[in-house]
Symmetry: C2
Subunit: 297 residues, 2 copies
Amino acid sequence: MEKEVIESRFRNLQLHICNELEKIESLSKFQEDAWNRAEGGGGYTRTIVNGNILEKGGVAFSAVYGDVSDAMRKQLGLEGESFFATGVSIVLHPKHPRHPIIHMNVRYFELNTGKYWFGGGIDLTPHYVSKEAAILFHQELKQKCGAFHPDFYAKFKPWADEYFSLPHRNETRGIGGIFFDHQDESCGLSKENLFQFCVELGELFPILYKQQIDFKPVSEPTAREKQWQLTRRGRYVEFNLLHDRGTKFGIYSGGRTESILMSMPPLAEWTYNLQLEKNSEEQQTLNYLSKFHEWLK
Amino acid sequence: MEKEVIESRFRNLQLHICNELEKIESLSKFQEDAWNRAEGGGGYTRTIVNGNILEKGGVAFSAVYGDVSDAMRKQLGLEGESFFATGVSIVLHPKHPRHPIIHMNVRYFELNTGKYWFGGGIDLTPHYVSKEAAILFHQELKQKCGAFHPDFYAKFKPWADEYFSLPHRNETRGIGGIFFDHQDESCGLSKENLFQFCVELGELFPILYKQQIDFKPVSEPTAREKQWQLTRRGRYVEFNLLHDRGTKFGIYSGGRTESILMSMPPLAEWTYNLQLEKNSEEQQTLNYLSKFHEWLK
């Protein structure tokens, strides 16, 4: 399985996802920026703004290569002299507070030593948690995982809980999903099958998001809903800038800032020491944002 | 010079600064939260919101002590078994885009080994840089530094440029100011005089901010000014969460999140790949946000 094949299918995956999302979104279209990396490779960053569904979102593809830098050696513990990395990365911030923020990433990494691995994940960050929608989301992920490996969901679900967490808030980012890294044939799947898993996760992504958008009919948001959305987006910013290893590595290693930070929400709010009403919907959402919640009994 | 004296004068400094700021601000007052740290000590966090001048601000005092944790050993390179730390920390986000964001911090640290040091600084982050106001700000800081040590401004001004920078944006946070850390008697000042320098910097703070607010009469902000303010606040968030060592250390070492993140703006915006008009005031501001700009010739 050549890296050029993976690169080319990831690029197609990006285009496919954008096409599918444009079927959900009727007001706006993705715009594409091409960029080059001085040290080798580049990418296509596709962004959308001011849609009727999507207020701000990005679907990024990149394929970069070059020397393993000191920063990569130190922060990623990489061996070898040169690397190749390609992937698709998505964050969508919906306009409506009753629609969830969603993130997906699939990526492939190889070193000149012959070592390779896949990583990725999908996780959902509702501003208001709907238990039924959360269960549906996890059911779909469990089913896709199960089609490839009997242990994937059981391994990758708690991994997401651990990864997408804000220890300083004692909260998870959202209702989780799956997350995995450093997967090679030692997981029991051939390289081809692992790659197929990543591609199918990507293809599942727009289906999952449409399910969430369709989950219940949405009326005009209230001022209270909109304010809570801004607060939850503030938490999203905190996670991405304080904790997300991908963001930090990209920033510290001189990646393209605009592509890395396309994950930022359009607008976010911080209120000092916000207190929620007991039993309010907002407080109920917070109660769900704890690690290792089992959505599927 | 006993640590209890420093602690008590820093607490008074906090109250003095709040009183002075309330003379500038006519619509809102500071509210105080007292908090305790399980491992020892605590603080008083004073915050203000929805003023006519200050949209959101915090003036925090803390005095904490306890065992030197592994995180402190590793991240701060501390020796010894126990520590004591006290300080005052301020961030003010003004309502009007033509008023600047301002930050101040003075702090004292001592270890049971007998080692101690002071740190601190004041820096200014205008949404729109006014050259004259920036010069005035630096003149005042240079004068205060000069009253204590002939080298302080020359040393502490570039230190601020270095510290308050966003390498991923190739920008400084604002027009700088002064920053210093790990100052003890080896700088040529006695412990008493160093402490006095910190106190006088704190006392200078409300005077400096009033100068900036008074600098020119302000009319109703335009939509464009307000939008640019939100963008600049986004950069402020990026600095604080990605780069600020104080924020990161506080978060990672289990500090009080609400007190640490009182520095967050009320509202912040991110626009993908924002392009500014050439020669616009916004672009002119960006042109000023580069390291080692000499405001005082």
